[in-house]
């Protein structure tokens, strides 16, 4: 009943075909007013020779094709989506409603500040709220996603150290960190150094101590960490780095676990990025857009990207472009404003009390689901209590039945649920990283748990149900190797010559 999307069997061979397959010469959806000025052409030397091979279809064709494709997609609106680390929450409809008013949607990014005072005040309030939630001094709203936020933070580290003596070329990262962390470190021109986890799934503080020296620019950490565990020795860690003049970066992907309970700033972090599409339920749109605001402590404010929002004494707002020590800009304009408008709706709709409750429910749901699954899928790190998400392992199941985490995941699809994250973090064998978020009700959690346990049961009794799953979807298991071998990355493309 609280299961997921209508998922359908199609006998072969009925896939939808692309919009190009609906194209018929001369058919059209577009219409423009008849040209009411003298026609003008671009110079022949710059003119296009042949028309592009775009589809020629009617509006009805567009509507049926993309409506049908949408129905072949699973979203939070169709069912639970317990992807660990991705934090898939329900996206309140009010945010969509308000974000579409022309007063937000129809603003040009370069219009004079005095014509967008309402917009700027909203961004200002949002920035203040984010700083209060994270314990930071100021924040930039420019980064369009978390990875860009990481880049921003690392460049701030670089700028900070550049003004100080000594070479700082290393950034420490826990081995369980998300892939964007090491990638960002490399792109920011640092060397990434892995910090191992101890057997409780926490940063191995003793090893860390051996890695911390005056070549270290900083440490990147999520807390609760990527295993959903809180780094209890966080103060010791941040002090250790500050002692050598390094900075500590907070990857905010798990901020939703601690709102109103503790703040990165209070733990000693100097730089924080937030994923609004995780913490503040801005729709992820099938892969994006996101927004990755970055907050910093007092001493780092001057390095924040330009322009930075400024509130003048008369209560008016403007973009301050005169920031000599800034790292510069990371976005063509002001960032993903439309996403930030939705984040504002979530932050101020929930408010101080609501946000704290969000973290409480996230923790309650995660621990409840972990307990329900434990018989078949034990916690990878049972010693430290889970917070908003947990990593279970299908290793025992694999040992007993040969069925892997991926088989369980695919079977869950046939049982009507979106699977959890699997095989991440890499440090856990047969990892199943599960984050129910505050969105899911107990009834949904019970249904999900029953499905997990049924799959585990079937792994013993009828393993083909798992190995052959899914069978109820528009397509069955897809051959990723085939895709990489043939590289059909566009319609009409045959196999490339190799």
């Amino acid at each position: 009943m609280s299961r997921g999307a209508p998922i359908r069997i199609q006998g072969p061979p009925t896939t939808e075909g692309t919009i190009m397959d609906r194209s018929v010469r001369g058919r059209r959806a577009f219409a423009f007013p008849t040209l009411d000025v003298p026609p003008a052409e671009v110079p022949a030397s710059h003119a296009r020779s042949g028309a592009p091979g775009l589809p020629q279809v009617a509006e009805t064709d567009l509507v049926r094709h993309y409506t049908r494709l949408s129905q072949q997609n699973y979203g939070v609106d169709t069912g639970a989506y317990p992807l660990g680390s991705c934090t898939m929450k329900y996206n309140p409809k009010v945010a969509e409603a308000v974000a579409s008013c022309p007063g937000y949607q129809r603003l040009h990014p370069l219009q004079p500040d005095h014509t967008v005072q309402g917009m700027l005040e909203m961004l200002w309030r949002l920035e203040r709220a984010l700083c209060e939630i994270t314990g930071m001094a100021r924040a930039t709203l420019q980064p369009p996603a978390g990875a860009c936020g990481e880049m921003t933070g690392l460049l701030i580290m670089r700028a900070f150290h550049a003004e100080r003596p000594g070479l700082r070329d290393k950034v420490l990262i826990p081995d369980a960190a998300h892939g964007t962390n090491p990638a960002s470190v490399r792109i920011a021109g640092f060397e990434a150094v892995n910090v191992p986890s101890d057997d409780r799934g926490l940063v191995d503080v003793d090893t860390l101590r051996t890695l911390v020296d005056d070549r270290v620019a900083g440490l990147m950490l999520t807390n609760p960490n990527t295993l959903g565990l809180f780094e209890e020795r966080i103060l010791e860690i941040t002090e250790m780095l500050h002692a050598v003049g390094a900075l500590v970066y907070y990857d905010g992907a798990n901020l939703n676990a601690i709102m109103g309970k503790t703040r990165p700033g209070d733990m000693g972090f100097d730089i924080v990025h937030i994923n609004t599409h995780k913490t503040f339920a801005t729709p992820h749109g099938g892969g994006g857009p996101g927004a990755g605001p970055v907050g910093v402590s007092e001493g780092l404010v001057d390095y924040l990207p330009a322009p930075l929002l400024r509130r003048d004494d008369d209560g008016s707002y403007r973009w301050d472009r005169d920031r000599p020590r800034s790292i510069g800009r990371l976005h063509g304009f002001h960032g993903n404003i439309g996403v930030l408008v939705r984040a504002y709706a979530y932050v101020f709709g929930h408010g101080a009390d609501g946000l704290a409750e969000v973290s409480e429910l996230a923790a309650l749901n995660a621990n409840y689901l972990a307990a329900m699954l434990a018989p078949a899928f034990p916690l990878a790190y049972p010693d430290a209590p889970a917070m908003h998400e947990f990593v279970a392992t299908a290793q025992p199941l694999k040992d007993e039945t040969g069925c892997r985490a991926m088989d369980v995941a695919k079977r869950l699809i046939d049982l009507g649920y979106h699977p959890s994250t699997v095989y991440f973090p890499l440090v856990v064998h047969e990892a199943m990283m599960i984050e129910p978020t505050e969105t899911e009700s107990r009834q949904t959690l019970d249904g999900m748990a029953a499905a997990f346990l049924q799959a585990a049961e079937e792994a013993h009794t009828d393993p083909d149900l798992l190995r052959e799953a899914p069978v109820t979807t528009p397509v069955r298991r897809l051959d990723e190797a085939w895709a990489a071998r043939h590289l059909r990355l566009r319609w009409g493309a045959g196999d490339p010559p190799d």
Binding site: P52, D77, L83, L364
Partner: protein
């Protein structure tokens, strides 16, 4: 539920947080409000903005008031699309995956390039990523035409601090030595002028550098696409493709290139494949390029992209089709030409680049600072254009899209006349 987990209170779940770092007070912000109150607050803020239906928009500079047909968001806003995550489970995500495959296909058709990814953040990030594809092999210098948007160059400068290059601006012919990795040309350029991009790219190739074109996707119904003018990598901001102005974001970054370079491409790429029964399906492919596999060896850190905007762009390009794209280009070019000549006749106003060809955007020299003129024009119900303070106080860049009517243009010209005669 507490019983099941053997706890007596939710608070216990937070005990592992050391007391020294706990906050005992509520967050210093208002408590939650009802939808009624939230809408009142947010609609009130929105009402304090002058939007493009209040002031007729002649501003461009990278964000344009192109028309967004109702069908685009009626489809892109289908909740199965916009409430889904990155398609990590392809069997549950064929909808998004197929649309992205169609998006990649349309971008290739549009640009004349061989391969496109599934979107980047915006035009500036696309330029940065394109440049990063070209670094290495003893080539580390980046030559950027003075006609490239200043904000994009800023973003490049910012990224260069990490990737250890400093974009070098050139005017006219670039001098392409053996250590030059990339030559970047924007076409039409930031002043709207159509530079001799073919020649520039020839110079780049002479010097063995990669030619990167920053293009305008809405121009490609009439302008020669990157694939025709010798670009190796083509990047653009895709806002105009069915996405609203949104005060500058979310938009999408377009990047397309050669199949030979596909493994250097950043971000997600969707590929066609088959399922165990031979049905056609779509998956994320070449993931070995990406950060979640390659980690510190990845040459891009992008994860979340702008899929939803790419979906809108796909529907929009389907709405246009080849004929619509050509008609749109004709209308932009014609209306811009009409506006330019009428404005050039306003006393004190001159074209900044007389005799130079342009598409939908052109630059004026004014007898007054452009900023003042823009403010005065707002009073008259026009967003007059974009100022270029970093270039010259008296330059105004005006953009005219297919959406502008002759009546609007005439009124605009008349208002400019008034403002400048004062």
């Amino acid at each position: 539920m507490l019983a099941v987990i053997g706890r007596s209170s939710i608070e216990e779940l937070f005990e592992q947080i050391p007391s020294q770092v706990r906050i005992s007070r509520p967050l210093a912000m208002p408590d939650g409000v009802s939808e009624i109150e939230l809408l009142a607050d947010m609609r009130g803020l929105a009402a304090r903005n002058v939007h493009a239906d209040d002031a007729v928009c002649f501003a461009g500079g990278g964000a344009y008031d192109h028309f967004v047909p109702s069908v685009v968001w009626a489809l892109a806003a289908r909740s199965e699309f916009y409430t889904s995550y990155t398609p990590y489970q392809p069997e549950l995500s064929q909808g998004v995956l197929q649309v992205l495959f169609e998006y990649q296909s349309m971008i290739c058709e549009l640009t004349g390039m061989e391969v496109s990814n599934a979107s980047l953040y915006d035009g500036a990030s696309a330029l940065v990523e394109a440049v990063h594809m070209t670094l290495g092999g003893g080539r580390s210098r980046v030559l950027v035409s003075a006609g490239v948007d200043a904000r994009a160059v800023d973003a490049l400068r910012t990224a260069g601090r990490g990737a250890r290059y400093e974009p070098e601006l050139f005017d006219g012919e670039p001098e392409v030595a053996g250590d030059v990795a990339a030559v970047v040309v924007q076409h039409p350029n930031v002043f709207g002028v159509l530079e001799p991009v073919r020649e520039r790219f020839e110079a780049a190739h002479q010097g063995g550098a990669t030619a990167i074109e920053v293009f305008d996707p809405l121009s490609l119904g009439v302008l020669a696409p990157p694939g025709e003018v010798g670009a190796d990598i083509a990047v653009a901001d895709g806002q105009g493709l069915g996405n609203h102005l949104n005060y500058g974001g979310p938009s999408l970054g377009i990047i397309a290139g050669r199949l030979a370079d596909v493994r250097k491409m950043p971000g997600r790429i969707v590929g066609e494949t088959v399922d165990v029964e031979g049905r056609t399906g779509y998956v994320l492919t070449l993931q070995a390029r990406e950060q979640h596999i390659r980690r510190e060896k990845a040459n891009s850190n992008i994860c979340t992209n702008q899929t939803l905007m790419a979906i809108a762009a796909t529907v929009y390009l389907g709405w246009l089709g080849p004929d619509g794209l050509a008609e749109l280009g004709r209308q932009c070019a014609s209306k811009a030409a009409y506006a330019a000549s009428a404005l050039a006749d306003v006393p004190g106003v001159a074209l900044a680049f007389p005799g130079q060809p342009f598409f939908k955007e052109f630059s004026l020299r004014l007898p007054k600072p452009a900023g003042e003129v823009i403010d005065a024009m707002i009073e008259r119900g026009f967003l007059a254009g974009v100022a270029m303070p970093h270039v010259a106080d008296d330059v105004l860049v005006v953009a005219v899209t297919e959406r502008r009517s002759r009546a609007e243009i005439d009124a605009f010209v008349a208002a400019m006349g008034e403002v400048l005669s004062q």
